[in-house]
Every structure is written in structure tokens, then in C-alpha cells.
């Protein structure tokens, strides 16, 4: 269905582009951004989280409950509409899609949890997820279900249990958060939301993929495209794959830069590489793409890796045979010719956990707190600062911990950017070091626009939501966007 809508969309879009712009920029983006911020600061299943999110949504006048009151119709339309355009904006790269889906899922989870039990069950029935088990079976599995789901003891008689095939409960299985027996997962009621979310995720990614395929239609609208580009960058950050300073770094500088301007994860990889003359695949990817992002050219990269590897067990011939292809590949010079982008913190923290023999990952997330402490001490971080960092780590605020580390090592009180990318860390560090210490006093850029080098208009601090939706051809659009 979607491509059809899209085709129709591009016409009305060109007419209403300014209006869209307003709606999006002032109403829905901030919502997703708030969801992200709140999700970073609170545990997603905590009451605090729901309270905070509810307050925030209210503040932003975001419709989140099917309440019958005037104005709802309009708000819901806005919701669909912005959802749709967001989909367009975010379907363009992998990282963007991932970010968008994550925020959408959090919003969905919140909404689902807000529903009363009977409405939730209705929803489950509607989606063929309503498999309650018999009383006897419940009796037999009950202890295991409680243990398997890590629930604190809940009165069994109140507990609904669904028995579903394990292939439908993938997310619970991944975290070992459900009792499994002979191929079936026994999911207690509060956890069923995860199954629902999984379903929603699939629908969403499919929709994004479809939207992407119909992108050429949109791209031909030269007014829409830059707007979409701009919007997506403003909130997720740029991908740091195209750097102005390509070739402006010499290989001799890297040792020095690693100490001064690399975030901890890259400093660690650099050290491991120098010490062991080797890095395993995960490390080569994470570090190699970072180096590319700071401006190391393909020729330099080949030289850099070769000179280090041949000090170890790999001779030059083997290196050329085994590794140089991959390096060229990551620069988009081989195979599918995809130009890989440097990893963001989120990607480093969430995907591809390091295992035996690996040095990649995020030290704030993947190091033992004890070792992290030792490392920070050896880097001469004052002990008060170390305590602060470890507290943030304990609260699972890894990026904030990294930000704190930045502040401490750069002698600034507040970084003035919200840290989400190792290459951003590097750029900000270089900016500070090159301008000199005075920059400290420079006013921080407005919230939400982390990228000061982007020519992006600052968002006014407070703007009321656009007043009405009736400037749109309402009936028609309602239909178009109702698939949101």
C-alpha cells in the first residue's frame, strides 16, 4: 500500500511543504528526541520513566491516549502525518533507521502500557497472540515461569501466561528472559508487550524498507529532499563519513592524538594494536572506520595497518592477501562498494559485544568497573572525577560517563554538546585544543543542534504547536496517513 501513498504524497507534499516543515519540526521531532533523552536518563520499565515521559508528551501536546475530547482528531492526524514524514526522513541510512525505530518502539511500549488490561487483551486477540494456558499447565510451570522471566514474585492467580512458539518470542529469548520448554516460551502477561513490540518492529522496518524503495519519487522533488536530509541530520547527528580534513593528518601524529583527542574506546584499540601488532575483526572495523572518519586516507590506512601487522605474526605477503582487501572494502573500493561509515556510540555500545581476545567496544560499557578505574587512574584522572564517572557507568549512562571523561581531560566544565559519536568526540577535542583554553567561556550551542558546523537554524526555545491542520486537504490526507 505504501508506495501508492507515496506517489500521491509527493504531489501534495510539494504544495504543502512549508506547512509540513512546521508540523514536523515543531511537533514530532522533539517528541522523538525527548523519548531518546528520557530513555537515556531513566530505566525504561521504571515508574519514573513513565511519569517523565507522560509529562513530556503532555507538554508537547502529543496525543497518546484515545481520549474523546475536542482537538484529538486534529492531533491524531498530526501524529500520523509526522510519523509518515519521519519515516521518509529516516529510512535513508541504516543508523537513522535504527535510531528512529528505537524511539518509535519506546513510544509504542509506553502507549501500550498505558492501556487498561481489557484493552490490552483485545489488542492481543486482534493480533493472534492470545494463547492462554490451562490451569493445570500453569500449576506445573509456574515456578519456572517466574524464575525464567525474572519477575519478583507475583501472585500466581493474577498472572496470565501465554504459551507461544519460541520463534515468536525472539527478543525475550535473546536476553534469556523467559522460560522455555520443548520449543515453547511461557510468557507472563507483563512481558507480552515485548512480543507485541517485536511485531511492531517488523512492521516498521518493512515500512521503512518500502519507503526507501520508493524514494526516487521523493528525491525528484528537489524541495523535499534537502529538507529531509536536514531534518534527519539535526537529530541523529551526521554520519562522519565525509570529512573535510581528509589527508590532513599524518601517520606520525596518531600516537599523540590517541592520547590527547581519542575517546577511550579508540585509545584502547590504538594501544592494543601497538602492543600486540594485531587486532581482531571487530577491532579493525571499529578503529579503522574511526581513523577514516578523522581523515586518514586509504593509502595511509594500508600503510598504517601493514606496518603494524608485519611487526607481529603476519608477513607482508600474508597481509596483502588477507587484510588489504578488507581495508579497501571499508573504504568502498571493493565488493559492493559501500562506503562504510564510522560507528556511532550507540552502535558500539549495543552491537557486537567483545569477547575473548577482543579490544573493541566501549570501555565504559564493556570493561570491568575495577579495570576501568585502574585505567582512569593511570591516565591521571583525579579520584573525585573517577567516582563521578563510575557512578554514571553504574547508572548505565555510558555516553555521559564518556562526556565526563572528556570534560576532565579537556579541563572544561561543560562540554556543550551531547556526545553520541567517537568522531564527534575527536572533532570537539581538536576544536578545543586548537583554539586554546579560552573557548571554555563560549556559549554552548542550542540544545538539539549538536553539530555547530551544520548550517542549521537554531530552534526557538519555545514555540507553540501549529494551530490547525485544516489548511491541508484534510479528508484526503487523513486517508493517506491513516496507515501510520
Amino acid at each position: 500500500i505504501v508506495p501508492y501513498h507515496v506517489a500521491e504524497m509527493s504531489q501534495s507534499a510539494s504544495q504543502n511543504i512549508l506547512y509540513f516543515y512546521c508540523i514536523l519540526y515543531f511537533s514530532c521531532f522533539p517528541v522523538l528526541k525527548s523519548i531518546e533523552n528520557i530513555g537515556v536518563s531513566f530505566v525504561k520499565t521504571s515508574e519514573q520513566y513513565s511519569k517523565k515521559l507522560e509529562a513530556e508528551l503532555r507538554k508537547q501536546r502529543f496525543h497518546f491516549r484515545p481520549v474523546r475530547s475536542p482537538g484529538v482528531f486534529e492531533m491524531r492526524r498530526k501524529d500520523h502525518l509526522s510519523h509518515f514524514i519521519l519515516r521518509l526522513a529516516y529510512c535513508q541510512t541504516e543508523d537513522l533507521r535504527r535510531w528512529f525505530i528505537q524511539q518509535e518502539l519506546d513510544l509504542f511500549r509506553f502507549r501500550f502500557n498505558e492501556l487498561p488490561l481489557d484493552k490490552q487483551q483485545q489488542f492481543l486477540k486482534h493480533n493472534d497472540l492470545d494463547y492462554n494456558i490451562t490451569a493445570e499447565e500453569k500449576e506445573a510451570v509456574h515456578k519456572n515461569v517466574i524464575d525464567g522471566s525474572r519477575l519478583s514474585t507475583i501472585k500466581m492467580e493474577f498472572l496470565l501466561i501465554y504459551k507461544i512458539h519460541f520463534t515468536d518470542a525472539i527478543d525475550l529469548i535473546r536476553n534469556r528472559k523467559v522460560y522455555l520448554n520443548r520449543g515453547y516460551a511461557y510468557v507472563p502477561h507483563p512481558e507480552i508487550v515485548i512480543i507485541v513490540l517485536n511485531e511492531f518492529r517488523q512492521i516498521l522496518s518493512k515500512a521503512l524498507a518500502l519507503t526507501k524503495r520508493s524514494l526516487p519519487v521523493i528525491e525528484s522533488d528537489e524541495r523535499l529532499q534537502p529538507l529531509l536530509n536536514h531534518l534527519s541530520h539535526a537529530y541523529v547527528g551526521q554520519d562522519y563519513s565525509m570529512q573535510k580534513n581528509v589527508g590532513k593528518i599524518s601517520l606520525e601524529q596518531i600516537d599523540g592524538l590517541a592520547v590527547k583527542s581519542f575517546p577511550l574506546c579508540m585509545r584502547q584499540l590504538h594501544k592494543a594494536l601497538r602492543d600486540n601488532h594485531h587486532l581482531r575483526h571487530g577491532g579493525r572495523m571499529q578503529y579503522g572506520l574511526f581513523l577514516k572518519g578523522i581523515g586518514v586516507t586509504l593509502e595511509q590506512a594500508l600503510q598504517f595497518w601493514r606496518s603494524e601487522f608485519i611487526k607481529g605474526k603476519v608477513d607482508a605477503e600474508k597481509f596483502d592477501k588477507l587484510y588489504s582487501y578488507n581495508i579497501r572494502h571499508s573504504f568502498g573500493k571493493e565488493g559492493k562498494r559501500t562506503d562504510y561509515t564510522p560507528y556511532s556510540c550507540m552502535k558500539i555500545i549495543l552491537s557486537n559485544l567483545p569477547s575473548q581476545g577482543d579490544y573493541h567496544g566501549c570501555p565504559f560499557r564493556h570493561s570491568d568497573p575495577e579495570l576501568l578505574k585502574q585505567k582512569l587512574q593511570s591516565y591521571k584522572i583525579p579520584s573525585a572525577g573517577i567516582t563521578q564517572i563510575l557512578d554514571l557507568v553504574k547508572g548505565m549512562h555510558y555516553q555521559l560517563a564518556c562526556q565526563k571523561y572528556f570534560e576532565l581531560t579537556h579541563n572544561v566544565e561543560e562540554v556543550g554538546f551531547s556526545h553520541s559519536h567517537p568522531n564527534q568526540y575527536f572533532l570537539e577535542s581538536q576544536r578545543l585544543l586548537n583554539v586554546g583554553r579560552d573557548v571554555k567561556k563560549e556559549p554552548s550551542p542550542p540544545e538539539g543542534s549538536q553539530r555547530s558546523q551544520n548550517s542549521q537554524p537554531a530552534r526557538p526555545a519555545s514555540v507553540s504547536a501549529p494551530k490547525s491542520a485544516d489548511r491541508l486537504a484534510s479528508e484526503e490526507l487523513e486517508m493517506i496517513f491513516s496507515d501510520g
Binding site: N144, I146, D147, G148, R150, F166, T167, I170, D171, I173, R174, N175, R176, Y179, L180, N181, R182, G183, Y184, Q268, A272, L353, P354, S355, Q356, G357, D358, Y359, H360, G361, P363, H366, S367, D368, E370, L371
Partner: protein, 415 residues
């Protein structure tokens, strides 16, 4: 016993004999053909061959058993890997429009490699193994096989010795073969307990309540722990060794244990002290965590995850050790000995020396079909037993396939 160097040297001479007279083609084909239930299932399967001098051929595929045999005898691969079943014949992948050539199905596979245990083995490093550390593989098989069967309900699990330092598992159930990439990685994550890289001291973290699956794994590990870890590896045997273990216990009791350990008689006693002592702390699962860190299976998640990831085939010869990659019978798992697995040179020798007793069979002349002669050939060697285990596995699979078919036809008859 022939040394590793010798084994590599005999490959060019003996591999052709192996592929001509010993390799169990009929069983192999029966396995990968899966009863021919789906059209082109065998034809669309990718094989990859590594030839002499590291020449690597991907996307090989064969229409039938005869073609497979012919190619293997012609190319004499040093190594054979099995990949996915694709949407098209893999050897024609270049003529398929890009994007249409896709991996559809594959067995769910697990790869456990002794090198991943280097931080908890005192006996060997890297590719080396010995009888002491082989117990780790035994434990790994016990733990994983239980979970695959009882938790996931998989019935057809083929365990294979890799020929050198590890084991592989091929889960062949219909559902397993159809799992998506995401589902595969979720299953692998579910089965992974030891997490963290060089920078993590404590790699296992248990919280109350312990998941039933882990609970059962702990029971299995306990069966081996004393003899394996405390006696053979002697993980608390010296100061250097126990410091590594003590790094995992809560700080408050560490110092105390350090002094107590010096006076204790042996690892066994020290372990009891440790168990007693952690009971007084909040970290009540410390002993279990240590057991799991030392013994719980460590799998290479990436191998299981990828639908198009290749894995070394059963019955292939390990080019360095010459050992045949043979199926393992779980009924006698505890006595499985990787060092007495048949090697290429040993079975070829057996083939020669057992020639004479067969004389009574006068009709076995040129007139006899080759396949028949071959089926008798492997029986003269110690390959007979591994092939029997493989055969048993296949029979069970064929049996349950028949069951499903019957069920289906029954439901049709129902009018």
C-alpha cells in the same frame, strides 16, 4: 602414531584413495537431501572446497550424489565446507540478477573452539589440546545438547569432532533450518553466558532468581567440576592460579581467603573455603559464577548467526592432524578421545592390511558395481563406527519425517 608433519605430507597420496574408496557418499547425500521433500534442496546447497596450496573455491553445487562424487574425486579438496541452501544453484549465482540470489535455509550450527578457553586452561595454549582440557568440550556438549533438546525442542542434533581442537553441532530439524538470522543470533545469545573480552575479569553474572536453563547447566557443570577444575587443572593449586580466581570474589572476603589459602592442603579444600566464605556476602552466586566462567561452553556466536556462514563438513580430513571429522555418539561421550579418532593414514593402512581376509568373497571382481565394493571397504576400517553413528542419526531423522508425512496424509484422508 604419525606426527602432524607426516599427516600433512601424506595428503596428496592418500586423499584420492579416501575419496575414491572410503568417503561415505550415500549417507552424506541422504543427509543433505533431507528426503527430497523440497525440490532442489540438495542442488541449491553451497559447498566450498579448499584445494591444495590454499586455492579456495566458493559456490560449488551439485545436481546429485554422482556429480558430487565425481567432482570430489577430481578436485581432491583438502577441506570441504558446507554453506546454505540458496534460492538458485550456487554454481550459477553469477547469472542470477544481483539481489535475487539469496541464502534461504541452513542447519543451525554451533562451533566451539578450544582457543576461546585460553584464559581458563593451565595445560595448553591456542591450538593445542590434551586429555585434561578436552573435558571442556565434553561439558560444552552436555550443556548445549540439553538446552537444544529440552528448551528448544530440537530433535536432530549432530555433534561432530572438528578434527583438531573443537566440536561442531548441526541442528537439522525443519524449524532450525528455517530460522531467520535474527532468530539464530537470539538462540546463540540465549546459550551464551560467559561474556566480555580481555578487559573483563568477571565474565559471568548471575542474579536471583537463576534462570531454569542456567540452573540445569550448573547441575551438569558440577558433575565435572571437582575432577576437572580442582584436580586436573588445579585452578587453586598455586598462588598464581588462585589469584586469578580470587579476583572474581567480593573484595570484602578476598584478603581473608588469600591468607587462608596458603595454609590449606589442596585445591579441593580451598574451594570449600571459598564456597563457605561467599555465603557471608551479598554475592551469593559467586561460586556458581566461577564454575561457569571456567566451564560453561563458549560459542562463536558469529558462526551460528550467519545464514550463509560456512562450516567445515563432517567426514572431511583435517589437513594438519589428518584426523577425520567424525560424528560423536553422545551415549559414550565421556569416553570419546580425540587422540584415537581415525586418521587418514590409519584408515588407509587398515584398508591395505585387511585386504586378504576378504578373499572368501570370490565374486567381488570387476563386475561388481563400484558403490557396492566401496560400502564394504569402509567397513574394513575404523571408519565403520563413525559411519554407523551417522547412519543412526539419519535413520532417526527419516523416521520422524515419515511420521510427519503420515500425519499429513491422515489429515487429508479425514472426510
Amino acid at each position: 602414531m604419525a606426527g602432524a608433519g607426516d599427516e600433512a605430507a601424506v595428503l596428496p597420496d592418500l586423499l584420492p584413495v579416501y575419496y575414491r574408496r572410503l568417503f561415505p557418499y550415500p549417507q552424506y547425500f541422504r543427509w543433505l537431501n533431507y528426503g527430497g521433500v523440497r525440490k532442489a534442496y540438495f542442488q541449491n546447497r553451497e559447498f566450498s572446497f579448499t584445494l591444495r596450496d590454499d586455492i579456495y573455491l566458493r559456490y560449488q553445487s551439485f545436481t546429485n550424489q554422482q556429480e558430487l562424487e565425481k567432482e570430489m574425486q577430481k578436485l581432491v579438496p583438502y577441506k570441504i565446507d558446507i554453506g546454505a541452501v540458496y534460492s538458485h544453484k550456487p554454481n550459477q549465482h553469477n547469472s542470477v540478477k544481483a539481489g535475487n540470489f539469496q541464502a534461504l535455509e541452513k542447519e543451525l550450527v554451533f562451533d566451539i573452539d578450544m582457543t576461546d578457553y585460553d584464559d581458563v586452561r593451565n595445560c595448553c595454549r591456542a591450538a593445542d589440546i590434551c586429555h585434561k582440557c578436552w573435558t571442556l568440550m565434553t561439558i560444552a556438549i552436555r550443556v548445549l545438547d540439553r538446552a537444544l533438546e529440552e528448551d528448544f525442542g530440537f530433535e536432530h542434533r549432530l555433534w561432530v569432532y572438528s578434527g583438531r581442537r573443537g566440536v561442531h553441532c548441526w541442528v537439522c530439524d525443519d524449524i532450525a533450518r528455517k530460522l531467520s538470522q535474527t532468530a539464530r543470533s537470539a538462540v546463540a545469545e540465549y546459550l551464551s553466558v560467559v561474556k566480555g573480552g580481555e578487559d573483563t575479569i568477571k565474565k559471568v553474572h548471575l542474579t536471583h532468581p537463576i534462570h531454569p536453563s542456567i540452573e540445569k547447566a550448573i547441575v551438569l557443570v558440577k558433575r565435572y567440576f571437582r575432577e576437572y577444575a580442582l584436580e586436573n587443572q588445579d585452578i587453586l593449586g598455586s598462588k598464581e592460579a588462585w589469584e586469578k580466581v580470587l579476583a572474581m570474589v567480593p573484595e570484602e572476603i578476598r584478603e581473608n581467603l588469600q591468607t587462608e589459602f596458603i595454609n590449606a592442603r589442596n585445591s579441593d579444600k580451598r574451594w570449600d573455603m571459598l564456597k563457605q566464605s561467599v555465603k557471608t556476602t551479598k554475592a551469593i552466586f559467586t561460586a556458581e559464577e566461577i564454575m561457569l566462567q571456567y566451564c560453561y561452553p563458549r560459542l562463536d556466536v558469529n558462526v551460528s548467526k550467519g545464514l550463509n556462514h560456512l562450516l567445515k563438513s563432517p567426514f572431511c580430513v583435517h589437513p594438519k592432524t589428518g584426523r577425520i571429522s567424525v560424528p560423536i555418539d553422545l551415549k559414550t561421550l565421556d569416553s570419546f578421545d580425540p587422540f584415537s579418532v581415525p586418521t587418514l593414514s590409519s584408515i588407509c593402512r587398515e584398508l591395505d592390511s585387511n585386504k586378504k581376509p576378504e578373499e572368501e568373497d570370490v565374486t567381488s571382481k570387476e563386475s561388481e558395481p563400484e558403490s557396492k565394493r566401496r560400502s564394504r571397504d569402509y567397513k574394513k576400517t575404523s571408519l565403520a563406527e563413525p559411519v554407523r553413528i551417522f547412519d543412526e542419526f539419519l535413520k532417526k531423522m527419516e523416521h520422524s519425517r515419515k511420521g510427519v508425512l503420515l500425519e499429513q496424509s491422515d489429515s487429508h484422508r479425514d472426510f
